[in-house]
């Protein structure tokens, strides 16, 4: 895959690039071994992150149909969050506004995504 995907002009789904930072991925020691962050702590951190993103996005921009967080380590995917709205116009509004917001000390990078079915989202 060339990763040069066509960016749609209309979509229900938005991509928030590298929004989620798994504490286990960032907290590695020099030899690559993990520090003492337990799976439970990672889960709690994730739940808090998920709730915060979901609540704010739904409150502010519109009804969410589905939200997915990438936790794999591919550098083009890591921490990507996909939010599928019920309405296309909400997705458009969200992208425009989110690009003007901060999240966790970083600017949000939002764009429309062609993905509509996450089970079919594998790139061929």
């Amino acid at each position: 895959c060339s990763r040069l995907h066509n960016k749609p002009t209309f979509s229900q789904t938005i991509l928030l690039v590298n929004l989620y930072h798994n504490p286990q991925n960032t907290a590695q020691t020099a030899d690559g071994s993990h520090t003492s962050i337990t799976d439970v702590e990672v889960q709690e951190h994730y739940d808090e992150f998920f709730n915060e993103v979901f609540t704010e996005v739904e409150d502010k921009y519109g009804e969410i149909e589905e939200m997915n967080v990438c936790d794999n380590l591919g550098d083009h995917l890591v921490g990507n969050v996909y939010v599928k709205f019920r309405r296309e116009e909400d997705a458009e509004k969200a992208v425009a506004d989110l690009n003007n917001r901060w999240f966790n000390g970083q600017p949000v990078r939002a764009e429309l995504s062609p993905v509509t079915d996450f089970r079919e989202a594998c790139c061929r």
């Binding site: 960032t26 992150f49 915060e52 690009n99 003007n100 917001r101 999240f103 966790n104 000390g105 600017p107």
Partner: protein, 45 residues
């Protein structure tokens, strides 16, 4: 007298937190500066 509760919203931990030292610029300006190579793409924690 009316007893209207002020809207109580749980403060967010992540939303609208700018990077330290960049509170005075907008996220759009920050990204433009990253593209121009004036600040690194990612700041390691």
């Amino acid at each position: 007298s009316r007893h209207t509760k002020p809207p109580k919203k749980k403060p967010y931990k992540y939303w609208d937190i700018p990077p330290a030292g960049f509170e005075h610029i907008t996220p759009m300006q920050y990204k433009a500066m990253q593209c121009a190579g004036q600040i690194p793409q990612t700041i390691s924690v």
